[in-house]
């Protein structure tokens, strides 16, 4: 049997669904713990279209996008500044690496004290985590600008400012997008965790948690799939933007 290459990714999906369906049909797992694929996807579909799941989904999208946007607005200019002077970057490198390695979830209590219970806390913890990832990537993108390209601009008489804007900035774009993609993934993780545990009334994290508390297994699986689809879509979205704006990357 010949499968067109474009359909290959579907093979794995089909296999997972087949194994899942078979497991349910043969009652290998307690049906209360594992509902059938059909039941799960019906719950997902109905929840997204008319139920609370759709509302929660949009809430999580909004929080993730806001935190990533805040992170980008702070981290990109700062990354360019730090990256344009290797000395400057080396002097704060330890701090960046230290806080980048600190699990952002460990910061929840601190941010709760600072911002109280609410959206501000969730968004600011996620922004904090994402900002460090973006900052680190932008700074490295600027520092690793091709020496020949900088020399070429210099030989043509370009001033320091011009080299920064015409060359370094563009040179750092591919790495900036790597940072943005990692940043948005991290922001989503932090937002979902925050929604679970810090007094949330909505959002995908809260939905998963609540479904578990109510032992609504189809609802829980549906919320997990919704979160997965969101993460995948955000990543894809950034990849598409990257291909459009950084058409030269890797060529």
């Amino acid at each position: 049997m010949k499968i067109p290459n474009a359909l290959l990714p579907l093979v794995g999906v089909a296999m997972l669904l087949a194994i899942w369906g078979l497991t349910v049909a043969l009652r290998l797992v307690d049906p209360v713990l594992l509902p059938s694929p059909l039941a799960t996807f019906r719950t997902l579909w109905e929840g997204m279209l008319s139920g609370k799941l759709g509302v929660d989904f949009l809430k999580t999208v909004m929080r993730t996008i806001s935190s990533t946007a805040i992170a980008a607005v702070i981290a990109i200019p700062l990354g360019i500044l730090l990256g344009s002077s290797e000395k400057l970057y080396r002097s704060v490198e330890f701090l960046i690496d230290f806080f980048r390695s600190t699990p952002a979830s460990a910061m929840f209590p601190l941010f709760l004290v600072l911002f109280g219970v609410g959206d501000r806390t969730k968004i600011s913890v996620a922004a904090f985590g994402a900002a460090l990832v973006i900052l680190f990537n932008v700074a490295y993108g600027v520092m690793n600008a091709r020496k020949t390209r900088l020399l070429a601009a210099k030989v043509m008489g370009a001033s320091r400012t011009r080299v920064l804007f015409d060359v370094m900035l563009l040179e750092s774009l591919p790495q900036t997008f790597v940072g943005l993609r990692n940043g948005v993934s991290l922001a989503l993780v932090i937002i979902v965790v925050a929604e679970m545990f810090i007094g949330s009334t909505d959002g995908l994290g809260q939905r998963v948690f609540e479904a578990q508390q109510l032992f609504d297994m189809p609802g829980m699986y549906a919320a997990i799939f919704a979160a997965g689809a969101l993460g995948y879509t955000l990543n894809l979205l950034f990849l598409l933007i990257e291909r459009r704006f950084v058409h030269w990357a890797g060529r």
């Binding site: 020949t148 030989v155 043509m156």
Partner: protein, 272 residues
């Protein structure tokens, strides 16, 4: 400075540029030391005007360092380089890197790459366009310049680099092993492109080459350098008429010049 005085004395408009015989670039006392070696020690040399000279010598003798110091990419420890008595900062020059992939701007189409030095100089957009089009016509270049560099072949990219260097109408053009990253077929084609550029513009050109055949084929003079600290072993003239072609390569004059250079080169290598 007698030459400048004589130029000034001649009636305006009557002076034939090609009759200027004073050296274009004077290098005096140029010194450069790297941590492990003295590359140049009080090096003196005059670069003739309107000629294409090739710099050739043993590996690591500082061929590229020489043009990089002249073009200001690498600071010299001591010494002076003057262009008709002026410092580099007052001279328009072009520089072509060996690594065209890293020297061009991949985010700009070829056309904008060529026009970039004019943008730096503050030339208005309409005039930039005009000047690039004029250069394209003059050199008879047949490349789709709306393409991005990564869509061009290596030779085409290097040709774009050369045009970017020429767009400011430089009084001197430096090329650092411009063809050594190209395959042989493309190298042969590009040699002829460079020759054409030179015949068309008569710009003083300094070419660093590691290929003796190429060095002799293209040059009016081959500057043979010794092992470091580099001295001038010999400044070998080669005056076959242009355009030189494949036939040139089998002419006795070419063979004799190349043999002479090779002999001197090998003597230098053996001195160790």
């Amino acid at each position: 400075m007698t030459s400048l005085a004589s130029i000034a004395a001649s009636p305006p408009g009557s002076f034939d540029e090609s009759r200027r015989t004073a050296p274009h670039v004077t290098i005096r006392g140029l010194s450069k030391r790297y941590p492990d070696a003295v590359i140049y020690d009080r090096f003196d040399f005059d670069i003739p005007r309107g000629k294409l000279i090739s710099v050739f010598g043993p590996n690591g003798c500082g061929k590229s360092t020489l043009i990089n110091m002249i073009a200001g990419l690498v600071p010299a420890d001591a010494g002076e380089v003057l262009f008709d008595g002026r410092p580099l900062s007052r001279v328009k020059f072009g520089y072509v890197f060996q690594n065209y992939r890293e020297a061009l701007f991949p985010w700009l189409p070829a056309f904008d790459n060529i026009a970039y030095p004019l943008k730096v100089m503050g030339v208005p957009k309409a005039e930039r366009k005009q000047r690039v089009e004029r250069l394209v016509a003059r050199l008879g270049v047949k490349i789709d310049l709306s393409l991005y560099p990564y869509h061009l072949s290596g030779g085409q990219q290097q040709l774009v680099s050369i045009m970017r260097a020429l767009i400011v109408e430089p009084e001197i053009l430096f090329l650092d092993e411009p063809f050594s990253a190209l395959d042989y077929e493309m190298t042969l084609f590009m040699r002829d492109q460079l020759q054409r550029v030179f015949m068309e513009t008569k710009t003083t050109t300094v070419l660093v080459s590691h290929d003796l055949e190429e060095a002799v084929y293209l040059s009016d003079y081959v500057l043979l350098l010794s092992r470091h600290p580099a001295r001038v072993v010999e400044f070998v003239p080669y005056d076959a008429p242009r355009p030189r072609t494949d036939k040139t390569l089998s002419e006795p004059g070419f063979i004799a010049t190349k043999a002479r250079c090779l002999k001197l080169f090998q003597q230098e290598v053996r001195r160790g």
